[in-house]
Amino acid sequence: MTQTVDRPVEGETRPMTMAAAITDALDLALAHDPSVVMYGEDVGNLGGVYRITTGLQKKHGIARVFDCPLTESGIVGTAVGMAAVGMRPVVELQFGGFMMPAMDQIYSHVSRFRYRSRGRWKTPLVVRFPVGGGLGLLEQHADSPETYLAHTPGIKVAYPSNPYDAKGLLLSAIEDDDPVFFFETIKNYRDPKLRMEVPTGYYKIPLGKARVAREGSDVSLITWGGMVQQCETAAAAAAESGIQCEIIDLRTISPIDLETILESVEKTGRVVIVHEANLTGGMGAEISALIAQHALYSLEAPIERVAGFDTMPSPFNSLNHFSRPEAIHIADAIRKVLSA
């Protein structure tokens, strides 16, 4: 198996939630590299609607962490210009559902700026935002737009599932010379169940390396972000009936860690892919296609995908558990691939 334990044992740690780990990474990055700047809607004075940048403006100065006009295209587009002239902007969009006003800047420029100038200009920028549902918030506050980015060349997409990974991936993202989009699952931000010991120092987790979150030999659950937790619940339930699920937490959606996926599929022969974005054309499709190309002969059952429905995320608060993938739906898919 490529990587099962990748936690450094040395060094000081303290218990952190996802939110705290992300804040810690941002704080360290600001201290570590004077070219890092942060801006967005409400990130300066308020510290963002989820308070992830709280305290950073006070600590690092208003020229490093500041509020800007309400415009996603402006935030991302100016970051392209800033990155070209030598800054490392780490910008925040208020929610993943509000990424689209920036989509032309992403597609036409973030994606191509370096390629287009044949390396004359670089685009070392990070765009962070909260994503995912299950909280009964307003419309467009529960979206998961990772596939639009994964299909767009030239950029990376990190989507952590726990505080340790979040901090290490974010520090990698900020140091990376490619543009990186960084997804933060709202439901995980302050979930006490995810609170864990995290090193207080500066450390990095490589982009493009998956994590085997649970070892097992019967079914591979391939997932990322907030869905890792759901898969863990489903896997624990399955274990009670003697089914051993392996959970692959991709950590980065783009580039994808094909090697780790294939190793797992070759072992289990059965695959369930779980994501919150809607099914059709989602990242589950790409993963399934990679398996159907590279590990077809290992498959003992059709590949199942558990995903959001092909509608906008349900705005009907009391019905969300019917549409967002939950452990119970994943359990159903596990049964399916096992009985195939």
């Binding site: 004077p34 809607e41 609607v49 020229a63 006009p69 559902g97 307003l138 349900s314």
Partner: protein, 376 residues
Amino acid sequence: MAKSSRTTSKQDATFKGSVTETSDLKPFQILASDGKPVREDLIPDLELVETLYRKMAQMRYLDDKFFALAKQARLGTYAQFGGQEASQVGSAFALERSDYLAPMYRSTAAMITHGWSTKNAIMYWRGHPEGWRLPDNLNILPIIISIPGQYVHGAGAALGAKLKGTNQIAMTYIGEGGTSQGDFHIAVNFASATNAPCVFIIENNGWAISVPRAVQSKVDYLMRRAEGYGIPGYLVDGNDVLAVHHTAKQAVDDARAGKGPSLIEQMTYRIRPHTTGDETKAYRTEDEANDWIANRDPISRVKKFLELEKRWNDDREVAMIAEIESEFAEALAAADAAPAPDPRAILEYAMVNPGQNLIAQQAELERRIAAFGGAA
């Protein structure tokens, strides 16, 4: 890696935002904050003034109730409009019933003024599918959360009505923060270019969540942008319901007469948090809000005027409040009595003609309904 990012105090000023202070403009008023007329000549029929007052009072009551319901988790996250009653009621009241309204998340008062029911509003903010269904007999476009798509829809609806020759016009709302978006510019300019009968309203309530107006742009008043589109621009005291209504009526009449779009900036203030999830302490002083509440409240201003005109007294006030309360209680009871939503609503209206993906997902939904132990 850059050597240093040199935090100088000059740079600091930049990121706090600063407005070039050269203003020659003053917001248009008909009533001063103390309720005394500053433009006697423009006071409308007192019947209209009373109607506007009653609507505003009803809206304030509703807004406070919605807040309380949200805090009890009987509504979801709710965007209060408290403080902006004159701004919304005064402008929406200038529409004909058949005109189009393209609202944003904070437009509840404008929507109800245009005919939406309190019951539906409760159910919308509760996330109940029935509240999301907009009534057939109302020309209210869907509530838009993504800032500010509705401005472009307003321009399109106006152009469509014009092409059909129906004599309808459209009105749409945005916050001052939203004016920094591309679609703000696109919409107003598209309507300028096509002479579409659309009234564009900016409710400048001072704040975009925690971001003060000054951070959005150096310009003093956003309605100055009208000049850049070659259309009329108006600066109005948004807490003076008579000034708001007068101006909106002018813009509505112009639009209907084929004179094209207008841009109106209504200076107002959000006396409540951004939404029921927001905490204002983190970014503004209570004094600021209290000053607006005490000295520039849109409702007491017109109430004082009506009292001065002997058109209003405590008895009427008491009777009105009783009426408002009982109407609201009735609407709430009706909303509470609505059956729990059917989970099948999740896939309803996804497409007029669904493909195999949605058909398969309908089957999956039925499985999930069964797994959770039955429908509803």
